[in-house]
Each structure stands twice: as C-alpha cells, then as structure tokens.
Assembly symmetry: C2
Homo-oligomer: 600 residues x 2
C-alpha cells in the first residue's frame, strides 16, 4: 500500500542522517536508544498509526463526538484505539520512567508522533492535551499532586485538558473572570465558565484532570492576578481512588469546521458551589506556569498542522501518479493520455508541497532535538543556548508551519480536482482539520507578535544571533559541497536580507513606529519561516548531494533532496525576498487608515 | 443592521463613478436604465438578498440537498426563495425581453448578482446554471428549440444544467464516453453517465433541461468528435406541455465540503434505452459551443468566489469593530481593552481584504461592462476590442479571483479567532463554500494554462496589448492627480515588469522550454491578476483622491479608496515583483526532478 502519512525514507533521513539520533545514545540518559531500537520504535508507531488509528480518522469526522445530557460520547472505534494506544505506552514517550514515561529522546517521540498524529489528529489531541496536563503537574505540582495524578495521566488512565479560554478572554488571557476562593483546608472553591475546551468531557477515561486558570478573590486584575489550579472531574481520594463528582459540568460542545472527533466543550465549574481545586505552583503565578507549558503545546500544534500537510502531500502524490488525464505537452493530441504527474503545473504543486513538508519536518524535529541536546549537557551555557534556539523557533514551528500547512492542504486538494472537494476522498477533511491549528494555542497573529515583540529582542537579541550562527554554519558546510554553489549563495543572500529586515523591523518595534512595525509582524514571521525552511533544505542537500552521485537504492531519494533545495531557493526564495522588500518599504496605510474608511 | 454581503457605497462607486453605468442609457438598447432605475434595481436586489435569500444560506448548509430513491429534495425555504426570485424576474436580467429577460446592462446585473449570489451562492447556482443553459440554447438552438425551451428557462419555470464531466473525463473533456445514436426522426438516443452535475436533480422546478456533451457513434476521438445535445428530464411535447420521463436518472449526490444546498448529482442517461436528445448546433461542434458558453460561466464562478470574499470582509470588519480584546499597543497594561480593529495585525488583514475585494469587484464589473460596450457599438473594430479584453480577463476573473477569494475567506475567519472555526458563525461556511470555485468550470490550473497558452499569444498578442493600453491609460490619468504620484509610479513599474515577464514566459511557452514555462503558468496568473487589481485600485484612487480632499458624508469612503491603493501598491506589489523575479529566474527543478524522486 502506498504511504499516506509520512514518507518513511524522509523520516529516517531526518532522524539518522540529519540529526543522527542514535548518537544521543552515547549519553547515559538515552543509552538504550541505539539505531536498532529507534527503528523498532518508529516501526511500531507506524504500525499502530496505519493499522489502528488511520481507520478511525474518517469515523471521527463523520460520527464525531456527540453531546447529550452533559455527556460526550465518542465512537467505539476511538475507545479501542485509545486502549491500544495506552497499552503501547505511547502517551508520554519522552517522560520519566517513574511516572509511566519511556524516557525516549524527544527527537524520536517526534518521529513517532509524526505517524500517530498524522493518522488521526483529533484523536491524538486527547493524548497531546493529556501529556501537556501531566507536564504542568510535573513542573508545578507538589509531591502529593504528583503522587495522586501523574502516573494515571501519563499512562492514559485519566486524561487531561487545559482550561484557559472564556467568552471574553481568548487571546487576552488576562481578561478572565473565573474565580477561586480559598477554603479553610487549603483547597479552593472554583467558580466560572470556560469555553473551547478540547477534550473537556468524553467517555474515553474514568477521570479528566483540568489545569484551570482562575483569579483568587481579591487578586490583581490582568495577568498578574491569575493562578493555576488542578481541578479533576471526579475528586481523588488520598489513596488514589475516585471520589465524588466535582461539579464540573459540560453544558455543550461546539459544531465546528473540522476535528469533529474531538469534542470542544463548554464547562461550568462550581455551578452548585461544589467544585474544589488545589493550587498548582504559587498564587498569582499562573501565567508563568502557562508560558512554561506553552512551548511544548505550541510545538505539538505545529506538528498537528504539519501532519495534515505531509499526509496531503502523499495523497496528492499518489493520486497524481494514478490519475490519467490529458496529453503530455510535448506530445500530440492523439497521443495516449498520461498520469497528471506529467503536467508541469501538477509537478510545481507537488514540488512546492514536497519542499515545504521536508523543510518543516526538519524544523519540527530540530526543535525536539534541541530539547534532547539541552537535557544531556551539563554545560550551563550550552543548555541555555539550546533553550534560546527553542524559544525563537517556537512561534515559527507553530505559526509559520500551520499557516503553510493549511495552504499545502489546499494545494493537495487542488491536485484531486473535483474529487478533492468530495468527502469520499481524504483531502477536504485534511483541509478542514488543519484550519484550527492556525487558531488555537495562540492564534498565528499572536505567534507573529511573540516573534517580533518578545523573541527577537529577548536577551539583547541573543536568540536571534544564535539562530543566525546555526544557519551560517550550514551555509559554510554547504559551500564545500559540489553542485550546491548556487543554492548556497541563494540561502546566504536570503539570510543577509533577513538580517537587514530583522534589524529594521526590530528597531521600529521599539520606537514610535511600533504600530507600523506590528502591522508587518505576520509578514515578518512568513519570511523568517521561509529562510528557516531554506536553511533546512540546504542542510539536507549538503548531506544528500554527495550520495546522489552514487548509484544505490536511495539515489532517487537523494536527488530529490537536491531538487527540493534547488526549487525552494530558486522558485520560492525570490518571492520571499519580495516579501522582505515589502517589510522594508514599511507602508503605513494599515495604521493610517481611519476606522470609518474601512466602510461597511 | 450592519452590511454583510456587499458594501453598498462601494457597489455604487463602481457602478456610477468608475464605470458610469447610466451613460449606457444614452444608447437605445439600455434607454430605460437611467440612474434612478439602476438604483431602484440594486435596492430591490439587495432587499431580496438580505431579507429572503440570506436566511436560507445556513439552512442550505445544514439541511442541504437530500437524496432518496432517485429524487433530490431541497429545504422548503429554498422553494419559497425560488418562487420569489422567479417572480421578481431576476434569472435572466440581461437577456432579451422576448424570452423573459429584462434587457438590462450586464454591468447592472453584475451588481444585482453581487448581492444575490452573496446571500446564498449554492441557491444561486441553480439560477446561474439555468441562465447558462438558456444562453447555450439561445446561441445554438434552432427556432423550435428556442420556442419550446427558452422562455420557460429564462423565467425559472424550468431549470438548466451542463452535463460535461464523466469519471474519466474531468479537465480532459475530450476523453468523454457518453454516446449518441441518431434515430430515424432526427433525434438522438443518448447513453452514458455524467458526474459532478450541479443542480442535476431537484424538486424546485417541474422540468430540468440538460445540455449534454456526447459523442455520436463513429465520430472522431478527442474533442473533435464531441457534439452538444439538449436532453430534458421530461420530454416536451410540440405544444410545450410536459411529456414522458426521459430516462435521465439521478443515482446519487456527493457528500462534499461545502455548497450543501446544491445537489452534486450523478446522472445516468438511457439506462433503459429511452433517453432522447436533440442536437444543439452542428454535429461534432460541441466544444465550440462549450467555449462560447464558457466565458459567462467562468465569470459567474469568479463572482461566486468573490461573493464569499466580500461577505467575509464585511463580517470580519463588523466583528473587529465589536470584539473587545487586548490592550492598545500604545497604552499601558492597565488601560481598558479595545476593539480588535485597533490592533495593527487585524488592520493589516482588514486592509488586505478590503483592497483585494475592491480591486476584484472592479475587475468583475469591468468584464461585464465590456460586454455592454461591445453590444452597443456598431463599430466592428471596437466590438472586437471589447471582446479581446473580455477574453484575456476571463481566466483572471475566474482563476485569480477565486484563488484570492479563498485566501481572503481564510483571513476573515482568522479575525474571528476560535469563533471563526465554529459553525454558529458564518466564516467557516464561507471558506468551505468558496473552495469549490477554484475547481469547477475549469480548475484554476486550467485557467492559468488558458492565459499563458491561449490568451497571451492569441491574435498575435493583441489581447494582451489592448489590456496594457487600458492599464497605461489609467496610469496616465492617475499621474495627473495630486497625491497619487507614488502609487502611480509603483503601478507603472509593476506593469513594466509584467511586460518583461509576459515576454519572457510567452516566448518560453512557444519554445523547447515549454515545460518550464508551463510550470510557472499559475504563478504568472497570480502576478497578472495582482497587476490588474493594482490597476483597478489606481483607477479608483484617481477618482477618489480629489473628492477625499473635500468634506462630505463620503469623505471617509474616498479616503479609504486612496488608502487601498497606497496599501496594495506599497505593501502587496513588492511581493508581486518578487513573484515576477521567480518567474524570470525560470527554475526548472519541477520539470527536471525524476518521478521517483518525489518519494512516497
């Protein structure tokens, strides 16, 4: 059967040839993850994904999460998949063994998730949120909270969420109204309504654990007065057994464009005055906890969007190879019709998809790899450097990757022609599902502001400088490789121009021209991401070019790596440079226009 | 109530100030359409749209067309809307009075359809196809066919379709298998299956008239052997009454991403050997008939996509004015939160939407206006020139406009944040509905090939030269207007560069570099369209700039016109120039890459 999630050869290339995952096993922490084990784990993840999760993708879309009388019911196929998923211990792959994790390198868990999320992202969203909730408890919980909750969460016996959004507090978290009142026993009574809670209620697991942002009565307004609480659906007795219902009521789920397999819940806490939570971390430090948990969550959302795109690419590629329609341009009208992959317009679409998918896969895996590098080093400076690289790349991994992924899904749909619009084929679901990733976990506009307003200037610009040094190192290496002179020069030119743009917009953002600068925050994220993709493709080509010259079963693959770099740097980067010119031009019309002049 | 379909001030601006619709009334053909009448008709169209059609939009999406036992049932609200629509005589606005039309300028009917299609495009698709079928009969039918069918079609008593696509013949029409066998009485027995037939079966009207492409037994393969037939669902007796069922059986409808209100049917003709059609036009000349009908159909699809975008813009604008979230960037953390229209990123999105919507509205209306100009002149050279302008702009009006409209819908959805993804709000339906317009009536890849491969070189390039002369005339006019020097210079520079690109790619398309050229056909359509939008915005600004300087109730509107031009030429055209550089660079990787190197 043709591949329809991730191209295994490409996954292996990134794991073994680009980031050399098994070298991590030289360190004690990852000693058991040699090449053989790595390959075995990817095999197992792919098997589970293809055989068990993928068949539930369309069921999730068609049947979906159903709401009735406060309960959310998932299709039986989801229950079976959840059981297998938990039995396989896939939920907390990189976490510590003592809490039910596997202690795996994040780079490897990223590869496994490439398959698992790609097989059914609305299903895997339950897992991702559960993992995220566990991470918050691990980072901020006291020993009692960890003892009571962590293992059950990391093994999927209980699931988790994140209760953040309220009707009047979306992007502006500081506006939230949910309140907490301290009780004599040190617990808090929680009252309030949260919306857009993915996996907020369902019948997959016996308990659901909600980290909740709320304001302790009398606390400061805005983000400074927000605290984080642990609020289970059912209370947990000191012996770990389930106690009484904790007055967390699901009042409905949203009808939405996609990810129908995941119920998006409205939850009311304390409607009967009977919702009890415990403080996670310190009072009024809830936002700090949020931010720490956010990198992982945003990286996961980037992967969700990406998973739709890599799948869309493979489906479109397979379809283009099979669908016979129209004559070859170099042949006459009476020649036999050819597979549409022979048509230049289709080839351009496919190579656009291929190069972005490859570049974005490398980017996502790279961020995970930086986590591993940070965790194995004892050198504080090196550790800090890895964290800086992560911090500056997170808005790209979330915002840029999901923006491009949605576009790639649309391009893949176009390859199918009319069939792309029909629910019988996979493309329209991928397009619908992928669209949410541009919105949740911080809209991509928020990501762009995070890059421009925080990350670019953080630590006196050191995050950015570290990243540029990494890109420059690849340019230097690629410059030594036969056949890559032109590609290398193009990436170098783009980096030089990005430097100019970053200097320009970064300075403007800290001046009286701040409004004009922020009007170009999102275009800046676009060009920033394009340069990163170009960097990753050049890195790949520098490995592949020497190998492409030799005859082997992988020759076509390696040649394809070089072509991706040639195409992206030759046909996409000129557009990126145009986008950079637009930023440098600094047109202020969007700031200057009077509100009334928008019409309406 | 806030406007949610088309901005009336903008519609009036294009009708009266840009194209001066009432001057058409100086010609006998349009004598009754003075300004007062024009305004009355737009009022009436808007009333019908807002009060009667708009409430059916979501019903169409949720309830949709239902299939059971060969019948397709539409919601009762669609029946009522169809009755009002037909009573108001909106179906064939620009057609001749003798056949039930209103003899209206196409420019005016475009404005009316801006509202009607914008209110419910899947409903209006029945009307558009019916109108199109009538046009084909008017152009190619004999007197008997016109007498029997035309008035009932143009008044909506019967509806129409176009039966073209088959499972193995989509973009490649010439591959079709549907067959026709001549009978002794001069009629033809039709046999075959057609798919993706919008409005192919429904219960809105008592009869459905299908123009059908089929191959007469023994005719040549490919497009040369295709003929066009008139195949009614129920046969029509010589006295115009309905006869027996004509063996056109609906075997199912597609589940699809959007436009649920319009049933996409599979039709089997002659399954019982009892389907009779009459020849429309000449034997083996079916493709010619198709092409002649195509301009109108493609313009209508462009309008469909555009209608989603203009609506998305107004919804997003209204939402941005009402949704309070986050602090103003120039104010402190303790300042009150502001409507999100105050945030630069939102303003950039809104101004991007506004400028594209305005430019594309002008483009669509301009094409309609050229039809009017052609119809009122007796000067053969002038008439030919108007038709050349229409011909070169059709792939832009269809392909470019629908590509951009889908993107604008996505941007509008983004303004809503999480609410954009929820079916309770209008954005996600607009996004889903709009996506089909990039596919049907010739995919946008086909449009791009039409522009590059046919229109650019047709008549020794005269179509292109005529268009450039029109753009240049606007540049010359705008150059005289105070305050527009910079915008004008930018449009002139873009036109000069487009000229270079068109020369480059046009030459390559007729050389041994044809494959490489066609790989950039779609990017060429993109930049071609951007220059046309820039042209239209400059035209608008040249009218508005002098008026913006005076105080009146329209000052904000006119200032907004200038801002659209400033923004598009200052912030978008630099990107367009980058896309042009990419075309000129002529990267051949998409052509060179081996099929195996795509992976999978």
């Amino acid at each position: 059967m043709a591949q329809v999630i991730a191209d295994r050869r490409d996954v292996d290339f990134v794991l073994h040839e680009q980031f050399k995952v098994s070298e991590l096993s030289k360190h004690e922490q990852f000693a058991e993850f040699n090449k053989k084990t790595v390959d075995l784990i990817v095999n197992e993840a792919r098997n589970l994904a293809v055989k068990e999760l993928l068949p539930t993708q369309k069921i999730g879309d068609r049947v979906g999460a159903r709401f009735a009388a406060g309960k959310v019911t998932l299709p039986p196929e989801f229950h079976k998949a959840w059981q297998l998923f938990c039995e396989g211990e896939w939920l907390a792959m990189p976490e510590k063994l003592e809490y039910g994790g596997q202690g795996m390198p994040r780079l490897l868990s990223m590869a496994a998730n490439d398959y698992l999320v790609g097989a059914n992202f609305s299903f895997m969203l339950y897992a991702g949120l559960t993992h995220g909730a566990g991470k918050v408890i691990e980072a901020f919980g006291n020993e009692e909270q960890k003892r009571l909750f962590l293992k059950n969460i990391f093994t999927g016996k209980w699931t988790g969420t994140m209760l953040l959004t309220e009707p009047e507090a979306g992007s502006d978290v500081g506006a939230l109204n949910c309140s907490a009142k301290k009780n004599d026993d040190g617990t808090y009574s929680i009252t309030g309504t949260k919306i857009f809670i993915s996996g907020g209620e369902h019948d997959l697991a016996e308990n659901i654990i909600h980290p909740v942002l709320a304001r302790i009565e009398g606390a400061a307004p805005g983000t400074r007065g927000i605290s984080l609480f642990l609020v289970p659906k059912y209370r947990v007795n000191p012996d770990g057994s389930l106690g009484e219902f904790n007055d967390v009521v699901c009042t409905g789920i949203e009808e939405k464009m996609g990810i129908h397999g995941n119920g998006t819940c409205s939850l009311t806490m304390g409607g009967k005055g009977n919702c009890i939570g415990t403080l996670l971390g310190e009072e009024n430090k809830g936002m700090r906890a949020m931010f720490l948990a956010m990198n992982e969550a945003r990286l996961h959302v980037g992967l969700e969007g990406f998973a739709c795109a890599t799948s869309a690419y493979l489906y479109a590629l397979n379809y283009a190879r099979e669908r016979v329609q129209g004559k070859h341009l170099l042949q006459g009208k009476d020649a036999p019709s050819v597979p549409i992959i022979q048509h230049p317009d289709i080839r351009r679409i496919l190579l656009t998809m291929k190069s972005y998918v490859e570049g974005m896969r490398s980017l996502l895996y790279y961020v995970a790899y930086q986590e591993d590098c940070a965790s194995i080093t004892d050198d504080a400076a090196a550790k800090a450097r890895h964290h800086r690289l992560i911090d500056i790349l997170i808005p790209v991994a979330k915002g840029f990757v999901t923006d491009r992924s949605f576009e790639l899904c649309s391009q893949g749909l176009q390859v199918y022609g009319g069939y792309g619009y029909i629910s019988e084929y996979p493309m329209e679901q991928l397009l619908r599902d992928s669209r949410i990733t541009m919105i949740y976990e911080g809209t991509n506009g928020i990501q762009a502001m995070d890059l421009l307003g925080r990350k670019l200037s953080m630590d006196d610009g050191q995050l950015y400088l570290d990243l540029v040094a990494e890109i420059q190192a690849t340019i230097d290496r690629a410059g030594q490789v036969d056949g890559l002179a032109e590609c290398t020069a193009r990436v170098a030119a783009a980096l030089a121009k990005l430097d100019q743009v970053a200097g320009h917009i970064g300075k403007a953002a800290r001046s009286e021209k701040i409004l004009g600068a922020y009007a170009f925050a999102h275009p800046f994220l676009d060009v920033f991401g394009d340069v990163i993709v170009a960097w990753m493709l050049l890195w790949r080509a520098a490995i592949a070019a020497p190998l492409a010259a030799k005859q082997s079963k992988d020759t076509a693959f390696y040649k394809g790596q070089v072509k991706s770099a040639e195409f992206f740097t030759g046909a996409i980067l000129p557009v990126t440079l145009g986008k950079m010119e637009a930023i440098l031009a600094g047109n202020e019309a969007a700031v200057e226009i009077e509100d009334a002049s928008f019409g309406g």
